[in-house]
């Protein structure tokens, strides 16, 4: 299979997955109690006012018709409108307009975490694999395990208490207006990023260590030892190249998590990212918004996994140069 046909195949599979996700999300959200009209009117709803508002919002169509409308709009590049901010007015916020700043924020945070966590975690993981069973390895193992085992929200709260409240070094929340640059931006991102670096790098570290150690039982590693290749080169040249595939996969999964799964951290630091937006959208039954977020998460996941696969292919000459 050539690279191009692989690319086409993967794209087709990705689109298929997106389609399945959109159906799942639609079914899932349609079994939720209440709709956006219920949420807007809340406690003060009456059957009459609900009916009137639903008619106004176009919610009185049957579910499958609404899905088809959404799908056709999507295919023509229109994500639709959120009911956000519109009240009973006829003008809602275009979803793309709501998503863009959130997406930028998410990418900023995820990017900041990735830039720090990935090189750090891979390095430490390699060091641990280089000297397995030593004190360094034990220390890394225990620390990463300890950090993995603590719920994110506890890590985040402890950090806030110590760094923001007690020491006052950094702001306790990370809500940003989008205009911050340079040092201000770094300060705003620091606390949530630090929390996520701790969470993400522990996992990457462990997987790096495990994968490299797994490769370490291959005959070609023994051959390298018998050729008198020093430890550092065995790990960095012989083992790492063969472990890159699985490591890339773990990194991709962690990055996908940084985009879609960090709702706890976004909540604690009041960081306006995508994950919190989707939770909010579900809670307010803003279905076009839920769908849009789901599409972004799903696409991110697919793209990241695809990139990880490409990295595996590029690091593996057998896949890169088929005979």
């Amino acid at each position: 299979m050539t690279l191009l046909s692989a690319l086409l195949r993967r794209t087709a599979l990705g689109v298929a997955t997106l389609f399945v996700v959109s159906v799942l999300i639609f079914i899932g959200t349609s079994i939720l109690p209440g709709d956006v009209a219920n949420i807007i009117l809340g406690q003060m709803a009456t059957p009459e006012s609900l009916a009137a508002l639903r008619a106004k919002l176009g919610l009185d169509e049957p579910a499958h018709i609404r899905y088809l409308i959404w799908l056709t709009d999507l295919l023509s590049g229109d994500l639709g409108f959120s009911k956000a901010g519109a009240g009973t007015g006829t003008v809602g916020t275009p979803i793309s307009e709501m998503l863009t700043p959130r997406l930028i924020n998410t990418i900023r945070l995820g990017g900041a975490v990735a830039i720090v966590a990935v090189p750090f975690a891979v390095t430490i993981g390699l060091l641990a694999a280089m000297y397995p069973g030593t004190r360094l390895d034990r220390f890394v193992t225990f620390t990463t395990l300890g950090l993995i085992s603590v719920p994110e929200f506890l890590v985040a709260t402890l950090l806030v208490l110590v760094i923001a409240v007690q020491l006052g070094w950094l702001p306790a929340t990370a809500y940003i207006s989008g205009q911050e640059t340079g040092w201000k931006l770094v300060r705003a991102l620091a606390m949530p990023a630090l929390t996520l670096v701790i969470v993400a790098s522990s996992q990457i570290m462990r997987m790096t260590r495990a994968t490299v150690l797994n490769v370490m039982s291959s005959p070609y590693i023994e051959m390298a030892i018998l050729k008198g290749v020093p430890r550092r080169r065995i790990i960095l040249r012989h083992a790492l190249l063969n472990a890159i595939g699985p490591i890339a996969n773990v990194i991709a999964l962690n990055l996908a998590y940084l985009v879609s799964g960090v709702v706890v951290v976004e909540t604690i630091f009041a960081y306006p990212g995508l994950a919190k937006l989707m939770i909010d959208a579900v809670q307010t039954r803003d279905l076009p918004l839920v769908q849009a977020c789901a599409m972004i998460f799903c696409a991110t996941y697919i793209v990241l996994i695809f990139i990880a696969d490409m990295v595996s292919i590029l690091s593996n000459p057998r896949l890169r140069h088929p005979k």
Binding site: L13, A16, T17, V20, V21, L24, I25, G28, T29, I31, L32, P33, A129, M130, P132, G133, R138, T141, F142, L145, G146, I148, S149, V150, P151, E152, F153, L154, T157, L158, L161, V165, A210, L213, M216, S217, S218, I221, E222, I225, P230, R231, I234, A256, S260, G261, V263, V264, T267, A275, M278, I279, V282, Q283, A294, F297, C298, T300, Y301, I302
Partner: protein
């Protein structure tokens, strides 16, 4: 010919089966896990109070006087409550002991369910032909790509949050990761000669899956089971963070941390005790898993110079 046979027997192919031997960290892991398993069984019966008990204000007397403390929440450790009280004035120790059963029970049941579903479908996808495989894989990709918290949020909002629902939900969410592993292991085993031997014999799918494939993917899956179990505990605790966890007044460790998080600024240990419980259990499981996987890989690392 007969004599020579006796004097030069065929040498065994491999040294006798290597038995799993734990390092000291692995042993420590076993001890800790065993400890918690004992607590699961006897915890509620040795606990000083019931998990739902809100301790009477009269119990807390200011030393050297007859005056009660004005508060019963976030009390420091004392003779009344050895590990202090939580945000409602409940005994942290009792709730931790009761919580062991809930936390470990739910997580274990969820993980088992995830395995039941994930392995069944994963193996079915591996052996069941391309149509089944690709439809299951697409569905699985779809589920994996939806953030699990968000899935949980929708389902719990739709049908409520009882313990059985929590177990089924978590089980299904984690089944998708198990599916991936089971499928790839299944694909490996499927092409092995002993499975072909069964196929040539004319064995049906059920036999091939249950007798030929499953026993052989059991070991690699077992190590993954430990890790998955840990993730499930943490996942349920993040659900608690969003208020979607077990029903009060039942205690599970994740919810306990969450509920009493507000005690941290006052130096209360109420959120730290259950956090420590989670940490000790998950670290212990991982230490055992590490030993099991070290058993199979990385043996050459020690020979590097």
């Amino acid at each position: 010919m007969a004599e020579t046979k006796t004097s030069f027997e065929e040498l065994p192919d491999a040294p006798p089966r290597r038995r799993l031997r734990l390092s000291w960290t692995g042993k420590l892991g076993v001890v800790v896990v065993a400890f918690w398993m004992v607590i699961v069984v006897i915890g509620p019966s040795i606990s000083p109070y019931h998990e739902a008990d809100i301790l009477d204000e009269a119990l807390f007397i200011v030393p050297g006087s007859d005056n009660p403390y004005p508060e019963t929440d976030y009390q420091p450790p004392s003779a009344v409550a050895w590990l202090g009280t939580d945000y409602l004035g409940r005994d942290t120790l009792s709730r931790t002991l009761f919580g062991a059963r809930t936390t470990i029970g739910i997580s274990l049941a969820s993980t088992l369910l995830a395995y039941l579903v994930g392995v069944t479908l994963g193996i079915a996808a591996a052996v069941g032909g391309p149509v089944l495989d690709s439809s299951l894989s697409r569905l699985n990709d779809a589920i994996l790509s939806i953030p699990s918290i968000m899935l949980a949020l929708v389902i719990i909002a739709a049908i409520g949050s009882t313990i059985p629902i929590l177990i089924v939900l978590t089980g299904l969410i984690y089944a998708s990761t198990v599916f991936r592993i089971a499928r790839s292991l299944g694909l490996d085993v499927k092409v092995s000669d002993f499975v072909e031997a069964a196929r040539v014999r004319g064995e049906g799918l059920w036999w091939i899956i249950t007798r030929e494939i499953l026993p052989n993917v059991a070991m690699p899956m077992a190590t993954d089971f430990g890790l998955r179990f840990v993730y499930v505990i943490l996942f349920i605790s993040s659900l608690s963070f969003l208020g979607l966890g077990v029903q009060p007044p039942q205690s599970d460790w994740g919810s306990m941390v969450r509920e009493s998080l507000s005690g941290l600024p006052y130096g209360s240990i109420a959120p730290l005790v259950p956090a420590m419980a989670i940490a000790t259990l998950t670290i212990a499981i991982n230490l055992i898993v590490d030993d099991v996987s070290a058993h199979s890989g990385g043996r050459l690392a020690g020979r590097m110079i």
